[in-house]
């Protein structure tokens, strides 16, 4: 049982993780203060014979302090969160040079349309693979999300990326992988009885490896 986030693998994961740990520390302090305070009061002010409680209706000053501190804290968290949110999910946040993919989700599979050798989507060399996504490392990737039936959610924990895939709505999400390897992708929105096995793998290649993989892929497609 850990409060540590699993290892990350995308450019903005660091920013999200920083906010998470910051909130973890702030709420951790608040948690300890309140719970210790409660326990201390429970012990110190427990009923004893002959005592009478201190008769008071409150204190405006104390209340002002404990209104102001949380207010300032949450506003600060909001101010720190805003730029990260805009960077990750803002409407025009995807880098202009991003490699564009399309994901078509349906019960219960992910179909990934890769842009092919020319790096452009919706050209003749595009190809589609079921439940596997191949992307190059250190290159922004923009994924256009399409659903054929119900709402699914595109979730790659290692990239700290999650975006619902809504039928009839063109959503998209971008990320830039920072290390090579295999990463799991899951559906995070209940989508029916096979929801739990709507799983895919993301393979992050280094630049050369990605080219080689694309080339080999092109030959197999040509042969078919």
């Amino acid at each position: 049982m850990s409060w540590m986030l699993p290892p990350s693998a995308s450019t903005f994961a660091g920013d999200i993780d920083f906010l998470y740990y910051l909130i973890l520390v702030i709420t951790g302090v608040a948690f300890v203060v309140v719970e210790v305070g409660l326990i201390w009061f429970i012990i110190k002010y427990r009923s004893r014979p002959g005592r009478k409680a201190y008769y008071t209706h409150g204190s405006v000053r104390a209340e002002f302090i404990w209104t102001a501190i949380p207010a300032v804290t949450v506003v600060a968290i909001g101010i720190l969160s805003a730029p990260v949110w805009t960077h990750v999910k803002g409407r025009f946040s995807a880098p202009a040079d991003a490699l564009i993919y399309r994901v078509t989700a349906k019960q219960f599979e992910w179909n990934f349309t890769h842009p092919g050798l020319d790096g452009t989507l919706d050209t003749d060399d595009d190809f589609t693979i079921r439940n596997r996504l191949h992307v190059p490392v250190n290159r922004p990737v923009l994924v256009r999300l399409v659903s054929e039936d119900v709402i699914h959610s595109f979730f790659v924990p290692a990239f700290r990326v999650k975006q619902d895939v809504v039928p009839g709505l063109n959503t998209q999400v971008w990320f830039e992988a920072t290390r090579t390897g295999e990463f799991e992708l899951g559906c995070a929105e209940l989508c029916g009885l096979g929801h739990y096995r709507m799983r895919a793998m993301v393979t992050v290649h280094d630049a050369d490896d990605y080219e080689r993989w694309l080339a080999s892929r092109a030959t197999t497609t040509a042969l078919r």
Binding site: M1, S2, W3, M4, L5, P6, I16, I23, I26, T27, F31, V34, L38, F41, I42, Y45, R46, S47, R51, K52, A53, Y54, Y55, T56, H57, G58, S59, V60, A62, E63, W66, T67, P70, A71, V74, G78, S81, V84, W85, T86, K89, G90, R91, V150, P157, R160, K162, Q163, V166, P167, L169, E184, E189, L190, G192, L193, H195, Y196, R197, R199
Partner: protein
């Protein structure tokens, strides 16, 4: 106007006309009986909802292992005792639905709204007693419709308690037809019951307060129920409307939420959460109010900052209308809108913090009596803090990208609804049980139940935060499908064992509740030395409550007042010429 009703003094009561059994206990118009009817119904639903949770936990802790006793379920649910994924989805859906709509909400609003409002404001009954009877007898068919869904072909609704369209809108997507339709009908019918109840509560509190019971002499429980009733009146019609639209999508081919014919799936989410977030506060505000009553009583001190506690309730209720988008940060809603909803959501932490610190302020320099209701009320504060703090994680939109739809959310909602509302309810039931039934619940078993519930509650729900931090998605039939979730299997088993124990120890509460009805110590008029008007009448109070209308002289929390020898000063005690500074409270 009546003169003072002095407590403890035996008063000769006029004989009430004896009603036939069916009018007295079945089709009752007495608010107290209706409250008790709601209590019995919602405790039964609480049990059923808990049972469903146990099945969910079994599947998560021990997938592919036959569930003990699971063979009694039909082949369509659990062949050989192993749950099917479609049944699992129904379980998840119905656990949430029953707990929210048929257990916690009626327990808070139906039971205590009915029972406490007339008694605490000094009224003989609700403003509309027959409307009140209807509000219960409309809730019953709603419950029957909801339970019927388990027995129809295709199984019960399986699109989650949030029923996201289009999964919920078209049977071919979920394999569920009649189940989802019954679900929608039931909620529409239940909505009518809630609306009738809310109308009655608002009218009663506005019009039937006893002489001297000014707005700022109302106990927090009544304030919170008043604000809750306003939320119910405004929020429930939105759900009813949305449910009827979805019902039409299912049955007569309208396409409100079907994108293939111009509908919009996000419209359902906006409607659902525009109702759903006020609903969240409907599920916690009355708990906060009753906890305020119990903590002041247990601490033997006036509630710290009585006025700001009321303003904080109003602020929460108001902000509750403009935060619904935080359920939809990752839904495809315009991300710029997400920023606005983040700000409002963060702000709601402020009145919540005021409440927590004021409860602590009430205990500060108190003379704390740890009766069983107080144990639960203090637990409420301790647990609500955790639920509030975990909310800050998901309010931060970037962090929400990662933890949205994970077990972190499940942990959060259970810390608020179980750690919060249900602990408050255990406290409230124990606190007002003597008034309801004329007998005390057993103290020893009450303490045992509180202690074991507190321990197993935390062992069950605290590790769910860690699951969420590990990326564990919600509503996942079999987490072992994912490699990255394999290391969390041990945590899942631990949670399951704790949850089974948590459920088991509730037997203590059930037995204590039932046995005390017959064997409990006879309750005096005022067993907790409280100040409220309900404690000036016999336990249980007669039909009509008060022989003479009480007059109220002061706010509800005058504990340890210097004016009197004893440490409580009932609201209706006339001190004559003695100055009563508390009748015009200066601070807070």
């Amino acid at each position: 106007m009546a003169t003072t009703a002095i407590p403890h003094e035996p008063v000769a009561r006029t004989e009430h006309q004896e009603l036939p059994f069916i009018r007295k206990y079945i089709f009752a118009t007495d608010h107290k009986i209706i409250g008790i009817q709601f209590l019995i119904m919602s405790l039964l639903f609480l049990f059923v909802g808990g049972l469903l949770a146990m099945m969910i936990r079994w599947q998560l802790g021990f997938p592919e292992t036959p569930m003990p006793g699971g063979t009694v379920l039909p082949e369509t649910m659990a062949p050989g005792g192993i749950l099917l994924p479609e049944f699992y989805n129904s379980l998840v859906t119905m656990h949430g639905t029953l707990m929210v709509f048929f257990a916690i909400m009626p327990l808070l609003v139906g039971v205590f709204g009915n029972y406490l409002i007339p008694l605490k404001i000094g009224a003989p009954d609700m403003a509309f007693p027959r409307l009140n009877m209807w509000s219960f007898w409309i809730a019953v068919p709603a419950g029957i419709l909801m339970l019927a869904g388990f027995f129809v072909e295709g199984g019960h609704a399986a699109a989650g308690w949030t029923a996201y369209a289009p999964l919920s809108a078209k049977g071919e997507f979920s394999g569920v037809f009649a189940g989802q339709q019954l679900w929608l009908l039931s909620l529409a019918v239940l909505g009518l019951s809630s609306i009738l109840g809310a109308t009655n509560y608002i009218t009663t509190i506005v019009n039937l307060r006893a002489p001297g019971m000014t707005w700022f002499r109302l106990p927090l429980s009544i304030w919170s129920l008043f604000i809750t009733a306003i939320l119910v009146l405004l929020a429930i019609p939105i759900l009813s409307g949305a449910a009827i639209m979805l019902f039409f999508d299912q049955t007569i081919g309208t396409h409100f939420f079907d994108p293939t014919a111009g509908g919009q799936p996000l419209l359902w989410q906006h409607l659902f959460w525009y109702f759903g977030h006020p609903e969240v506060y409907i599920l916690i505000l009355p708990a906060m109010g009753m906890v305020s009553d119990i903590i002041a009583n247990g601490s033997r001190k006036p509630l710290f900052g009585y006025h700001s506690m009321i303003y904080a309730l109003i602020a929460i209720a108001f902000l509750g209308w403009i935060v619904w988008g935080h359920h939809m940060f990752q839904s495809g809603m315009n991300p710029t809108l997400g920023m606005g909803f983040m700000v409002t959501t963060m702000l709601i932490a402020v009145p919540s913090a005021i409440k927590v610190f004021n409860w602590m302020g009430t205990m500060w320099r108190g003379n704390i009596r740890f009766h069983v209701p107080m144990l639960h009320a203090v637990s409420f504060v301790a647990m609500f803090v955790i639920g509030g703090l975990s909310g800050i994680f998901m309010a931060s939109t970037p962090v929400d990208i990662y933890i949205h739809d994970t077990y972190f959310i499940v942990a959060h909602i259970h810390y608020v609804l179980f750690g919060g509302s249900l602990f408050a309810l255990f406290g409230a039931i124990t606190f007002w049980y003597p008034k309801m039934f004329g007998r005390m619940m057993n103290v020893f078993w009450g303490r045992v139940h509180w202690f074991l519930t507190f321990v197993f509650f935390n062992l069950t729900f605290f590790p769910m935060h860690n699951l969420g931090v590990g990326g564990h998605m919600r509503r996942l039939y079999d987490p072992s499908e994912y490699e990255f979730l394999q290391p969390l299997a041990g945590t899942n088993r631990f949670i399951t064992v704790s949850a089974l124990l948590l459920f088991t120890v509730q037997i203590i509460f059930a037995l204590n509740f039932v046995i005390s009805l017959f064997k409990g110590k006879r309750a005096p008029e005022n067993p907790w030395d409280d100040n409220g008007l309900e404690w000036t009448v016999p336990s249980p109070p007669p039909h009509g409550n008060f022989v003479t209308t009480p007059t109220v002289y002061r706010p509800p929390y005058e504990f340890s007042s210097p004016l009197v020898e004893e440490d409580h000063l009932p609201q209706d005690r006339d001190l004559g010429q003695k100055t009563d500074p508390a009748s015009a409270p200066g601070t807070g």
